[in-house]
């Protein structure tokens, strides 16, 4: 196994863990963290898998940079909504999940 493939595989494991957390937890903060873990996992797959056996590839690296910004924006938006929701309802979970 090349190191690039290993990175990709770690990404796979992270994705699995993230998915597990995302579907199991109901606390919104935990879900958000799980989403970020899953996101990191997919970035690792994106970079690692493409470079396996072919050496450095700038394209996926650039894609990941774009992806990170998008993930940051999404996370920030989620946090804003989450905090607003917490403020008006006093809940850290969604209505049916309480």
């Amino acid at each position: 196994m090349s190191s690039a493939l290993f990175y990709a595989w770690v990404g796979v494991v992270l994705c699995g863990l993230g998915l597990f957390g995302f579907i199991l937890h109901r606390h919104l903060m935990r879900r958000l963290l799980a989403f970020n873990i899953m996101g990191s996992g997919s970035f690792m797959i994106l970079v690692g898998l493409a470079q396996d056996g072919r050496g450095a590839d700038p394209v996926p690296q650039a894609l990941v940079l774009t992806g990170i910004v998008v993930a940051v924006a999404s996370t920030a938006l989620a946090l804003v909504i989450l905090r607003r929701w917490y403020r008006v309802s006093g809940e850290s979970r969604l209505p049916e999940d309480v």
């Binding site: 994705c15 995302f22 919104l28 879900r31 989403f35 899953m38 996101g39 997919s42 797959i45 994106l46 898998l49 493409a50 396996d52 394209v59 996926p60 894609l63 774009t66 992806g67 998008v70 924006a73 999404s74 938006l77 989620a78 909504i81 989450l82 607003r84 929701w85 008006v88 309802s89 969604l94 209505p95």
Partner: protein, 489 residues
């Protein structure tokens, strides 16, 4: 020979509109929005004219052609969606603007306009993009805008709905991104047109397809992943609901369709297609049933969207492994269904918004007596309902007719049952509303009256849904330009 208008204008104009309306003081935003609308129309019509004159258009962004750069592709389907977006958006914008004008201010929804323009930019970027990673960015752009529009009123209900929507959108786009990562590793290119070269025998493309499909159907709110949709669409402002139901859920479906057609036929298996068809059938039945059970008018319309989305997913079993004729019929039928649902549903949401405004109550039971006071809004609601029920001569009917013919042609008669039972269910929930509004209950003479422009916007959309069926040939002829099923029909 005239020079074709560059495609990016379709994105530059709304993006510029978004930034401009973000910059200007609040009191100018409505006027600015109405001023940009004609520009949007000009650009749309010019590009449509180019399509008619020169056929399929390709624009290599930055001068770098695929696979190095990103290309925009404007075939009949893409520009059909662009035109649909412009039409639906204009009428929703008129609705929103006259609502704001009537209230005398738009303080509480001050950032509505920048978000609306971002929505158009995001939609157009998705319709035109021919690059799977760019589609991911477009999806995120669209998702966050839509979530923002849902949350806009800031009430607890809106925030909860937005949060649930956001979670679904995030999970969906992550799964899509995972698929992109796998496809890039397997094919070495991100261009949609290059996907067909990936060998279908390996597991990578198949796993990628499964991930992307699931992510996209979560964003499309296909049963049983539809749970986020009713609160989000049912709780938002009327023009926002209209745009979300008419266009936003279609964007992820559009990507899915592009993806399935681009991949090697070996990858898109019949089992997967039938699974999608079965989920679509479930959506038609469950969504229709739930719509009928609703007590709030806008939730009824929202569940109706859940049901109508189901029809669109019959596309997959009807084109996978069937004859070209059946596939072509399904292609035509699905596109027509997509357009007519977009128009009818937008009209229905606007009409429902007007009715709710007039009643001062969100409940269907409070509609009694409205038939005499707001006949025009009710008429628009009914007209849109005709299209959703699939009664002739609406677009819904023509689309269903094509889908039925396709199902019979490919020998999959069970989808016929779904289509017909779905029509009966939609009749049940549409007439539920009409029945309540024809009842003359306790004397009520206090009804608010929304401005005329709001009623006319709803009517225009509902009538357009009707017109699409009446003149079904011409939109289909347009949208067949560059179609994988050829121009015959």
């Amino acid at each position: 020979m005239s020079v074709a208008l560059p495609l990016p204008w379709l994105i530059v104009v709304p993006l510029g509109g978004a930034m401009a309306s973000f910059l200007v003081p609040e009191r100018w935003r409505v006027r600015l929005g109405l001023a940009v609308l004609p520009v949007m129309w000009l650009v749309t019509l010019a590009v449509l004219g180019d399509l008619a004159a020169h056929g399929v258009q390709v624009h290599a962004l930055g001068g770098w052609s695929a696979p190095l750069g990103i290309t925009l592709l404007a075939d009949g389907l893409a520009l059909g969606m662009v035109a649909l977006t412009t039409l639906v958006f204009s009428l929703c914008a008129v609705h929103a603007a006259s609502h704001a004008a009537e209230k005398g201010h738009n303080g509480e929804i001050g950032f509505l306009w920048p978000l609306l323009w971002f929505l158009v930019a995001a939609l157009n970027s998705i319709w035109l993009s021919a690059d799977i990673f760019n589609l991911y960015v477009g999806l995120e752009l669209l998702g966050l805008t839509a979530v923002g529009l849902v949350a806009l009123t800031g009430s607890a209900e809106a925030l909860a709905a937005a949060m649930r929507y956001l979670l679904a959108a995030l999970l969906g786009s992550l799964c899509y991104l995972l698929g992109v990562a796998l496809l890039y590793a397997a094919g070495g290119s991100l261009a949609l047109g290059d996907l067909g070269t990936i060998a279908g025998s390996g597991a990578t493309a198949r796993v990628a397809l499964a991930l992307m499909t699931l992510g996209l159907i979560l964003k499309t709110a296909l049963f049983p992943l539809h749970a986020w949709l009713p609160p989000a669409h049912g709780g938002a402002l009327a023009p926002v609901s209209a745009l979300l139901s008419a266009l936003v859920v279609k964007a992820s479906l559009y990507i899915l369709i592009r993806l399935w057609l681009a991949l090697d036929p070996d990858v898109a298996t019949a089992a997967a297609a039938n699974l999608l068809g079965a989920l679509g059938a479930g959506a038609v039945l469950w969504g229709g049933w739930m719509a009928w059970r609703q007590t709030k008018l806008k939730y009824l319309v929202a569940y109706s969207t859940v049901a109508q989305i189901g029809y669109l997913f019959l596309f997959f079993p009807l084109v996978t492994g069937t004859s070209t004729i059946a596939g072509g019929l399904a292609w035509d039928g699905t596109l027509l269904m997509l357009i007519s649902h977009a128009l009818a549903k937008a009209g229905m949401f606007l009409a429902a918004g007007n009715l709710v405004l007039a009643m001062g109550s969100p409940l269907i039971a409070d509609l009694s007596g409205i038939s005499r006071f707001r006949p025009l809004s009710l008429f628009s609601f009914g007209l849109a309902g005709v299209s959703l029920m699939g009664l002739p001569p609406s677009g819904g009917f023509t689309a269903k007719w094509l889908l039925l013919q396709s199902a019979l042609h490919s020998g999959q008669w069970w989808w016929v049952v779904v289509l017909i039972v779905g029509g009966l269910l939609s009749a049940a929930y549409v007439f539920k509303v009409l029945r309540h509004s024809f009842v003359e209950g306790p004397k009520r003479d206090h009804f608010n009256s929304p401005p005329m422009a709001m009623e006319l916007a709803a009517l225009a959309l509902a009538a357009a849904g009707m017109g699409v069926g009446l003149a079904a040939q011409s939109p289909l002829t347009w949208m067949r330009i560059g179609s994988p099923f050829g121009v015959g029909g």
